[in-house]
Amino acid sequence: MTYGTLALTLIFVLIPLILSKTLRLDLEKDTVIATVRSIVQLIAVGYILKFVFDSDSYLYIFLMVLLMITAATLNVRKKGKTIPGITWKVAATLIFVEVLTQGILIGFQITPPTAQYVIPISGMVIGNSMVLAILFLNRFTSEIESHEDQIELILSLGGTPKQAIHTRLIQAIKTSMIPTIESQKTMGLVQLPGMMSGQIIAGADPIQAVQFQLLIVFLILTTAAVTSIALGFLSYPTLFNKQYQLLQEGRDK
């Protein structure tokens, strides 16, 4: 694709701008900002990736993955403000997911340990892990708020924090995983996944593209399960103290 052709794709930005103006949706400013940011960020990433691929250095691969984990952690922690120490819990979860998935891929020689494979796959794994962590934390905090009386009931009947939070934790884990499982059920029927579509457009053999997509689908399934379970089991003990009391934001230490 030439830059001239790419410029023509701005028609797809003009359409929502015209619609927003005509219908007074007041979304023109946000649309322009989103467009400019996506152009600048993607071009920058493109050049960085080119530099990392050309240098073929493990240090740069490591730094890229570290950057992804840091950005994802900072994004997720906002959703779990009520959970003490949420930043390191999210970071530990994302690092664990990344090490586990890359360990299996490289360890079993499914993919080679090169920047071309490690960085895009890490991006997909960490990105999905980030979304799962946000979904989990949203659900977990709302489960606790809406079922505080049930948690208190079990504590008041002599239950431990683990017993008191168990149902809420399982519910939050299940709920956060449902979108991943549901979207995989209709994959190929309702939508062609982005990575597979990209490979086919770039001229790859569709069967080869499908094989890689399946790899990503299975990876994301593991990512979803490990992220919500790890984050859940790291988070719940800090919601209670040694006296088996449910701590509340801004009240207890």
Partner: protein
């Protein structure tokens, strides 16, 4: 006043920036019913949660059945000082599953005979054991909630506005049940109620809390002729 089941000494507590309890000192006598009254937001529920260690005070000391609060192991404390909550929360499942919850939490074997005896004791037929807890009325939920706490044979029973959401008939049934439990088991009962008439009728002793302060305590007859001006205004307002 008799030997204390629970005593408070200069207990203060904050929740967030708000001072919820201020320098509370007093005793809940053993084997008696003490009612806790006061306007909404006076700190009654917070005080009750301090009695079984669901909360800890910021300042002061609390002695429960002769031991300081901080020396109690949480599980043991909560099986000896049991609480029935205002909303009578149920876990999803049958009445039997709700009643056996304390056993399940302790990993203990269910005493079926005792469960059947207690469900009858609270005025429900044993057929109720197989009912879904979702199908219970407000009064029946409260009875199951009380039965669940009684299965642990607590020394002290804490009741948080258990009749406030009930109709008149159910309220009377629950009141009679609590009096029956007290007479039968000699359990010390601490009961939060909004209803001053109920507090005077049921309680041997009464604590009046206002803005986190214990403004008056003594025999429940104090509600008939309060010495404190604020309490007098509160009683008049409530009766109006």
């Amino acid at each position: 006043m008799q030997e204390a089941a629970i005593s408070f000494q200069d207990v203060s507590m904050k929740r967030g920036e708000q001072q919820v309890l201020k320098q509370i000192s007093g005793q809940f006598p053993q084997g008696k019913i003490t009612t806790l009254v006061g306007p909404s937001g006076a700190g009654k529920s917070t005080l009750l949660k301090l009695c079984n260690g669901l909360l800890s005070p910021d300042e002061g000391s609390i002695t429960i059945l002769g031991n300081p609060l901080e020396n109690w192991e949480p599980v043991e404390l909560r099986t000896r000082v049991s609480m029935a909550l205002q909303s009578a929360p149920m876990i999803s499942g049958t009445v039997e599953e709700n009643l056996t919850l304390p056993y399940a939490l302790q990993g203990a074997e269910v005493d079926v005979d005792k469960m059947r005896r207690i469900i009858k004791e609270v005025g429900l037929d044993v057929d109720y054991l197989q009912r879904d807890s979702k199908d219970l009325s407000g009064g029946q939920r409260q009875k199951v909630s009380i039965a669940r706490t009684l299965l642990m044979e607590p020394d002290i029973l804490l009741l948080d506005e258990i009749t406030s959401a009930l109709d008149r008939a159910s309220r009377q049934e629950v009141e009679e049940l609590i009096q029956h439990i007290h007479k039968t088991f000699g359990t010390t009962i601490i009961w939060i109620t909004h209803n001053l008439e109920q507090a005077g009728r049921i309680g041997h002793y009464t604590w009046v809390l206002m803005d986190g302060e214990l403004v008056e305590q003594g025999e429940s007859s104090l509600l008939e002729d309060p010495q404190n001006d604020r309490v007098r205004q509160f009683v008049r307002g409530d009766e109006a």
